[in-house]
Symmetry: C2
Subunit: 279 residues, 2 copies
């Protein structure tokens, strides 16, 4: 353990938040320097340093890995594409297990190729998760389906509401749950009852935070820092807690227009300050 | 009636589609020149030429007005703001009636001021529509609640799914219905059953078309021409028809990045061609 004075409990940094500033090891150092002992890395970040070295750093520092990003991307235009996706997801499960992650986050994929059939894509997603689920169960690695904002339905995820994700969990059974990200779900008229439903079913595996900026300039890379947008984060968290989930809040901010341009130390310090004041 | 040869049945042009090219009268001329006899104008376009003159042009040419854009924007930070919104909506109802429109489209509004309370905003919307409904009923002007894509929840509309809009209709009773725009609703996992529900309740007042571009560069002003995106428009229309709505398909394309830069004649010709081939 290294020399931080005060540990920041209940806060995890998804390393995408500082992906332009740091590689895996430097990001961990920067988190530890400010007392953060929970992270969520991405596969490319782990691959760059090597899985064994990443796992060693996690163990050595007693880090909690609140999620591993990411599996998914099931819809494909042919059998070979689907098989490749399934194989890749099994590798991601093994990597998540090696890192001791709480869950593997699934961004399930959108429309394959030139398809306009979102109902078929959703069927491929259900079949794909069912196909990797035995592998995940054997590895004791929970799969966290992350419903993505409807603006990503075409290109990233055809699972777009918490209700839809929970319906999928009901079909799939044990070993799957949801990652609930405020960015993707804050607008949903059925949010509160569906969070409660997720809690009843013990399906909440992760809680991601950031903020929705009232003026959003880019669909993918203009997420806001907590407090800079319109989401009532305290109320959201209260609903999550009431549903029985008391795990860390994981900050995940893709911000090519702002935070990725700032020093990583400043970004992490701001995450901590906002976590303490507005979350 | 002027000199077009073939009338294009079943297609309406929302005049926002050519708002950079034409004022009201020139837009009507451009539509008639290609056989289109249904339009949907915006309040600023009508105001620029004057309500009486606009109504005269509509009557003289036997135009169908498939909707008048728009009322709504109810949430306010204080009583004065709310009262102003209600007064403005009543004027919009009267204007729609003067034009003989099929309905007044309501874009209900987002979060007022610095509010982060979307549930309160939704309450203001329900109260606001209830407050203007007697005026609308007296004018025999149906109010079409248009659920807007969730990416507009903060700034334009806190009604974001068809299910939510229909729940609101159930509470409000007669004189309200929905405008179903493919752009705002195509992603919805509950779309088909909710279209069917809307049909059973005789709630479908308008059907707007355009397309969702797989690569969308701007949240507001990058809508696609039918056929250029990912929406299965024939299937969508089949669901609308099956639900008992056989009115025109109304093209509404906000496209600062493409179609607003092209000659209006080309835009209208393309709408007709795509309407005939992919809708």
């Amino acid at each position: 353990m290294t020399g931080y004075d005060v540990q920041v409990n209940g806060l995890s940094i998804n390393l995408a938040t500082v992906r332009q500033q740091y590689g895996f090891a430097a990001a961990v150092d920067a988190c530890l320097a400010q007392g953060i002992t929970a992270i969520a890395p991405w596969r490319d970040q782990v691959e760059a340093i090597g899985l064994e070295e990443a796992a060693r750093i996690v163990r050595l520092n007693g880090l909690r890995v609140t999620g591993y990003c990411r599996g998914g991307m099931f819809p494909a235009t042919d059998r070979a594409g689907l098989d490749a996706a399934l194989d890749d997801n099994k590798r991601a499960i093994d990597e998540a297990a090696a890192l001791g992650a709480d869950c593997l986050v699934l961004v399930v994929g959108g429309l394959p190729g030139a398809s306009k059939d979102i109902i078929a894509a959703r069927g491929m997603v259900a079949d794909g998760i069912a196909a990797i689920l035995p592998h995940a169960r054997a590895a004791r690695m929970p799969l966290a389906i992350e419903p993505l904002h409807p603006m990503f339905a075409a290109d990233r995820s055809c699972v777009n509401t918490l209700e839809q994700a929970l319906d999928l969990c009901d079909v799939l059974g044990d070993g799957v749950g949801v990652a609930i990200d405020v960015y993707h779900t804050w607008w949903d008229p059925k949010l509160r009852p569906q969070i409660a439903r997720a809690g009843r079913g013990k399906r909440i595996l992760a809680h991601h935070i950031c903020d929705w900026l009232a003026i959003t300039r880019d669909l993918l890379l203009d997420r806001g820092m907590m407090g800079d947008g319109v989401v009532d984060l305290k109320r959201f968290r209260a609903d999550i807690e009431r549903a029985g989930y008391h795990g860390p809040q994981e900050v995940e901010i893709f911000s090519a227009l702002n935070w990725w341009k700032r020093p990583g130390e400043e970004v992490i310090a701001t995450c901590i300050e906002r976590f303490r004041t507005v979350c």
